[in-house]
């Protein structure tokens, strides 16, 4: 039972984090988000232009899918990979001594050990959802399975 509650809590937490992260990026101006990504000095201009268009919507859709519980292990795996990519990009920028905004949840938050640690902690619920198998309750997956049976 406690595993089920933990599983549900991880889903809600991770889903909400991604939806909120995507929302803050859409709420900021697209140029502001572009400036933030460009400050990392990791992508060429065309890469920044595409990242601005894709990342906020990807985060929102991913958050909604995680909340729904559809193919949760796959989506949790994808979320973990996305988080890992963000953390690596932040770590490289931080190690190079570039003073850039994290851009994780809006603007004005510089990359620091604290932001790196915080984002790394987000991997925990993703790994939990990826590796701990459970019979899902209150998920779209369970509803669709029930409909098939």
């Amino acid at each position: 039972m406690s595993i089920l509650i933990l599983h549900w809590a991880c889903r809600v937490f991770l889903g909400a984090i991604f939806i909120y992260a995507g929302y803050t990026k859409l709420a900021a101006s697209p140029l502001q988000f572009a400036a933030t990504i460009e400050a990392y000095q990791l992508l060429p201009a065309w890469g920044v232009i595409w990242a601005v268009k894709i990342i906020p919507w990807l985060e929102i859709v991913l958050g909604l899918v995680i909340l729904s519980g559809i193919a949760i292990r796959w989506t949790a795996g994808f979320a973990a990979a996305l988080l890992a990519a963000f953390i690596i990009a932040m770590a490289i920028t931080y190690a190079r001594g570039i003073e850039a905004d994290c851009g994780c949840f809006g603007i004005g938050e510089k990359i620091s050990l604290l932001t790196l640690l915080r984002d790394s902690l987000f991997l925990l619920p993703a790994f939990f959802l990826l590796f701990v198998r459970t019979r899902l309750r209150y998920s779209a997956d369970r509803l669709t399975r029930a409909a098939h049976q």
Binding site: S29, P30, L31, Q32, A34, A35, T36, E38, A39, A45, W46, V48, I49, D101, I107, G108
Partner: protein, 206 residues
């Protein structure tokens, strides 16, 4: 008793309304100076910049200048430059004084001096020798006039007004720019490269 309370409430509300009205009174702003384009352009970019800030240098030389070259000639984009010398940059204010003095002689001289200050920022920001950099792009006569204008206290007043205008717009770092399209203003903290700004401008100017 009830009438007394009503009067107190009315007085309080009046005071509150006066205070709020006071907040909304617009402060005297310095007029905008167009580095490119003119009023009436469909897109306006207002940049708050510091002559000694390295990010402002690359934003001006690598992004704003090409934007002026490609979009301001047909007045599709107007570019306003505002001075916001940061205290952490010891020579920024002096550089601003030179630029403003040059602007009082002529708009083109302001642009010429701004170009020189940004282009040779690495040199003068080290040794603080701004005058030789400015002198290189002005004639002897123009330089004499600039030196005279530097003594004018109204130059310092103008800088203070520009800084006050920036503070009112909550500028905390440079470059920060505002891009206005169709009455909608976006705030961008930090610079962006030319291809990114061009992609944005091409989309909004379609």
């Amino acid at each position: 008793m009830k009438t007394g309370r009503s009067w107190i409430a009315i007085v309080w509300l009046t005071l509150l309304a006066l205070l709020m009205a006071g907040d909304r009174t617009p402060a005297q702003n310095t007029p905008p100076h167009y580095a490119g384009g003119s009023p009436g352009a469909p897109v306006t970019i207002e940049v708050f910049s510091d002559y000694q800030c390295p990010a402002c240098r690359s934003f001006y030389l690598e992004t704003v200048r090409p934007v002026i070259g490609e979009y301001s000639r047909g007045n599709r984009v107007a570019v306003i430059y505002r001075d916001f010398p940061l205290q952490m940059h010891t020579h920024a204010r002096e550089a601003t004084r030179y630029a403003l003095a040059a602007r009082r002689i002529g708009h083109d001289l302001w642009l010429r001096v701004s170009d020189a200050l940004y282009a040779e920022q690495e040199v003068w920001s080290q040794d603080g020798k701004i005058e030789p950099v400015v002198a290189r792009v002005l004639s002897t006569e123009q330089m004499t006039r600039v030196r005279k204008l530097l003594q004018d206290p109204s130059i310092e007043e103008e800088i203070k007004k520009e800084i006050a205008h920036g503070e009112k717009k909550d500028i905390r770092s440079t470059p920060t720019f505002f891009i206005s399209v169709g009455g909608r203003e976006q705030r961008v903290v930090g610079g962006v490269s030319y291809p990114i700004l061009k992609d944005y401008l091409d989309r909004v100017l379609k």
